[in-house]
Amino acid sequence: MPEQDILTTQRVERLIAGDRSVMAELYDAYSAALFGVVMRIVKVQAVAEDILQETFMRVWTKRASYADAKGTLFTWMLNIARNMAIDHLRSAAVRTTEIQDEASTVGMEEVGSDGSLMMETVDLASFVERLPNEQQEIIDLVFFKGFTHQEIADERGIPLGTVKSRLRLAMNSLRTIYGVSL
């Protein structure tokens, strides 16, 4: 398991030990971040709410498998939520046009064609200003929508190498922005 802060480490221990009181804390700590991810995938609030609730149910029922997940608690939960959201899309048979939709949706919702910001939240504005749109998009596709490099390259018609270097650049930007350096 990776290094995590003390509070997270304690929560993980309580979760694995079957301490049910940890669930309210996990919900308070992560529900908004996960809901943001799920909403961007399924785009329908009622569906996103169901998926969020089911995500936390699975966090509980699958807690024994976290030890093998080898990621942070959040990325483990993120993958659960994302996979459920993607499964929903697949079952709704709309997955095939997802990237194309994504191109227009992200562009229109968050950044206008003239580059002006159409902010979801006030906080987001400062963030978006710091991260180029194409880098933000590739992080969304990989981490929040579960696309592989190859899928992005195929759907977007850009070389695989460009996908990788763009993702790499985006990650470096993120780390600089958040000052994450262990």
């Binding site: 990776p2 694995i16 030990a17 079957g18 301490d19 049910r20 669930m23 309210a24 919900y27 308070d28 529900s31 908004a32 971040a33 996960l34 809901f35 943001g36 991810v37 909403m39 961007r40 996103a48 709410e49 969020l52 609730q53 936390f56 149910m57 509980w60 807690r63 024994a64 080898k70 990621g71 942070t72 959040f74 990325t75 993120l78 993958n79 996979n83 979801e120 939240t121 906080d123 987001l124 963030f127 992080i139 990989v142 981490f143 929040f144 579960g146 696309f147 592989t148 490099h149 996908v163 990788k164 993702l167 790499r168 990650m171 993120l174 780390r175 958040y178 994450v180 350096s181 262990l182």
Partner: protein
Amino acid sequence: MTHDELRQSGLLELYVANACTAEERLMVERAAKSDPQIQRELDEIALSIEAYAQERAIAPPAALRTSFLEHFDNAVPVEKPKTAAPAVGRISTVTYLRAASIGIIIGLLPSLYLYYERADLVRERDAAQTQLAAAQERTSVIAQRASDLKTSFDKVVSENFKRITLPAVAKNDVASATVFWNASTKEVLIDARNLPHLPTANDYQLWAIVDGAPVDLGVIDISNSDAVLHAMKVIDSPAMFAITVEPKGGSVSPTLSAIKVAGKVG
């Protein structure tokens, strides 16, 4: 792939996103285990993503929190944390057993596949052998027939064979037969292809008239439609040949009223 190349490949990001293959996953985990730098890189990616997601968070409706906790309480019966551990163990055991049985089934799949494939191949081989045997039999039949025809042809064209035509006795009957008689060897061959088919209760029988008396030359086997010429009994000095319709198996003396065709040796 060196660890530096691994960092540049974007694979670490995919690993954190849980979007790489099992093989790539193993490679990354091996690298992370041997190189703390790789593990640190993975942690940094994960924490960046978490910070990014937190910044883009969308607060769910407040009622959803109450709804989830109620749902959780109903779905998960209250039990003491201490008893929760064995429960996990039980679940794990079942899970492992299930995984093991699935593993066994998956492990057997190639064998099953090979078994059925082999069974298919055996069936195909047997079918091919049957076809080959049938073809060989047809070939030998055809070779035998060609050999018979050549023998017949050789005899018919040799000067020693005399050709005697046997026209129908009845008026307007188109039936006929041709006898080939060898004056030196006394052999008798008959071409009976122009005789009409008989009821199964009857046979055609060939007679030679020698010194005014009929001599039996045998029943003509016309069941073998491939044969052109049939070898009959030898006869010394026939004056005439005649064919009668007789009961199955032939008669000792001809039924004169049933003479079908007849011809004098010229």
